[in-house]
Structure formats: C-alpha cells, structure tokens
Subunit: 211 residues, 2 copies
Amino acid sequence: MGSKERRERQRAETRQKILDAAREMFVRHGYEATTMRAIARRIEYTPTAIYHHFRSKDALLYELCDADFRALADGFRAAARVEDPVERLDRIGAAYVDFALTHPMHYQLLFMTRRPPLDELDGAAGRGDPGERAYAFLRQACAEAIAAGRFRPEYGDADEVAQMLWAGMHGIVSLQVTKQQEEWIEWRDARRTAARIREVMSRGLARGPTS
Amino acid sequence: MGSKERRERQRAETRQKILDAAREMFVRHGYEATTMRAIARRIEYTPTAIYHHFRSKDALLYELCDADFRALADGFRAAARVEDPVERLDRIGAAYVDFALTHPMHYQLLFMTRRPPLDELDGAAGRGDPGERAYAFLRQACAEAIAAGRFRPEYGDADEVAQMLWAGMHGIVSLQVTKQQEEWIEWRDARRTAARIREVMSRGLARGPTS
DNA sequence: TCAACTATCTTAACGTTGTTAGGCCAACGG
DNA sequence: CCGTTGGCCTAACAACGTTAAGATAGTTGA
C-alpha cells in the first residue's frame, strides 16, 4: 500500500520543479519580469497548476527566500567560531556580501524593500525575523570588540558601530544591485571593494598604532 | 494675441499636475504599485490624457528623477567651492545625506529603485545624465585627493575610493529608509552616524599620522 | 464670417498580467 | 463496483500599460 507515499513523492517532485524553474527565472530576469505563465510553460504545466502548490506568486518567492536564507546563516555560523571580535567582524561582513551577491533577488527582498507583507505566512512562522537575529549577531561582535578595548574610546556605542559597519556592506551591495546597469560608472568588483571598506573602517576605528 | 501663450501655459500646468500627482504617488506607494489609471483619477483626467504629455509611465518616472537629480546637484555646488579635496569629500557626503534625509521619498525613487532602461530618450538628449555628473563630481574629488598624496598608496584608484565613500553614505540612509520602522534596532541619528562613517573612513584612508 | 485646422481630452478596445471558478479524469478506499 | 479524492485543465475574471479613433473645443486663414 505504498501508493499513497508515491503520490506524495510525485507531488513533492512537481513542487520542486516549480521552485527550481521559478528560482532560475527570478534570478535571471527579475521578479516582476517573470510571469506565472512563463514558469508554467517552462515546466510544461498550466499556470493554474502552480496554484495547487503555492498560494500566490509572492508565496513562491518567500519560499525561495526561506530556503536560500540558510546560506547567510551558514556563513555567519562559520564567522561565529572566530574568537577575535575584530576579525570576526571582518568575516561577518564578507559572509554578508557573499550572500547578497549570490542571491541578489533575495537580498533585495530582505534588505531593500520597505516592508514585505509576509504577515500571514503560516509556513515557518513563530521564530523571530532572521534579520533580527543577524543584527543581534553583528551587534554582539561590536560589543565584544568595544569591551576588549579594540576601538578608539569615542566609538563606544555598539549599536552605532554596528550600524556603521552594516551601512558600509549594505551600501556597496545595494548600489550594485540597483545601479549596475548604469554605464557611466566603472564598477569595481564588489567583493574587493567591500573588503577594502572593511579594511579602511577597521583601521579608522582601531585604537593604537595603525595596523 | 496672447491666447497661444495662454494655451501653452495651460498645457504646462496640466503637465505639472501630472508630475506632482505621480511623484507623490510613486513615492508613497512605489512605482509598480502606482497605476496610470490612479494617477489620472487623482487629477481628474482619463488615463489617455497622460499619454499626450508623456510617452509612457517610464518616461514619467525619468522626468521626475531628472528633476530630483538637479536638486541634489544644487547641494553639491556649495561643496564644490571647498579647495581641500579631503574636506570637500566630507562636504559632499554631508550634502548627499542631507538630501536623502530631507527628501527621503525622492531619494528612494532615485537610488533605491531599479530604474528600467529607457532606450531612446531623445527629448533633451545630448547632455549627460545628472546622476552621471554627480558621480563624476565625487570621483573628481577622490582623484584630487589621491593626486595630492592624501591617501595611503594602496588607495590609488579614484573609482574604487569613490564607490567606497558612496557606499558608506548610501548604506546608512537607505537602511534607515527601509528599516526605520523595525523595532528590533535602536537606530542612532543618521546624520551623526554618517558623519562618523566619514570620520572613520577618512582616517582609515589617510596617509601619515592619524589625524 | 465661415470653413479648415489643430490641440486637448474622451470612449473603447487590445494584449498581458496574477488569480479563481468549475469541470474532467485517473487513482484510491470501502 | 462505485463514490470520493487529488491533480490538473479550460475558461474566465479584473486590472494593468498602452493605443486607435473620435469628439469638442479654440485658433487661424480667406
């Protein structure tokens, strides 16, 4: 009597095909430019079929974001093991930029839109906003660096320092996401520029001899 | 025989009403969420009437962006008079942040939404994009600072340095615009944080004794 | 003065979008 | 064997940006 399980497996398979096609098309052409009909055509179904697996186009995007958000969490997890708080801040920034450039579409949704209306998303609700935990993680590293006396005394506010560093990383990736197509800018490689921003800010914040 | 002029004036008036309504609605609800029909209803015209003044919805957006860029350019003009390139960079950053916080909606329209490429805007072509000139202005100050030997030798790429500084300023204001309502973050005053970012980056970039 | 013209705005429609209602059909449970 | 269910389809909805064609003024030339 494994037929029920086979049905379930086939359903999950179709669902995954939808997710795969949607991810590739969202990333390649953008969210707005990707139509439900095009996704359906790609996997050789009718648009209506998608609605038997996902409530709406937005729900489809949110599901993809949830799945790919683990990449950021993983990146942070590796950084968490670094004991030195200043070096950890550098790792956090690198992981953040890497996530943003690897998943620009999801980054745009998470950090560049005013308020995604995910209020009634029953899927994985309950726990706090992943962005909230990410900020707390960054702030913690700043607080440790301050407590260890690694920064100049005027930079003693963990929130302020966290916001400064976040701004630097968010600035470079969000500018590239929105303005990369402008031909009047000779964009430098974002990862390299981000690394130099961290380097410069780290030196500017540091107490003692310029490292 | 001033009737011709009156007609022209009335046409310009209608055109301006369209622009005003569109700006307010783009800014309040976003570009995609604002429909041509809604703009028309607001000014008590038919949607078609708008097309007698603007070629498309994109053209409408572009016109608004052009006007806003000019306002930003005015803010830069004061900074242009500062001879010392490093101090000028600080003034440019302050003017940029001031513009963004004074006209947050305009800023969002200009720097936080991906502008669709308008292929052939022959209307007032020839002169460069105002955003292009703004970036060139920033880049020029960076180049002068580099040429004057004010920065460490590894920071010799004017484009890279310009993008670093731009990222810092854009990051802090764009984060505040999108995430200000999030309750899990204790936002510091953006002008102050921006000033500290400039301070930190300036010190991190500078050659010689820490100033 | 009156016909011709032009500018401005309207009505009606086209094609496309996300989404939904209702039905068809194979596969399952009793 | 028959009723129910799950998975997908056809057809359609309202709303979108945009366009074609026409109405109604005001202006202009003879």
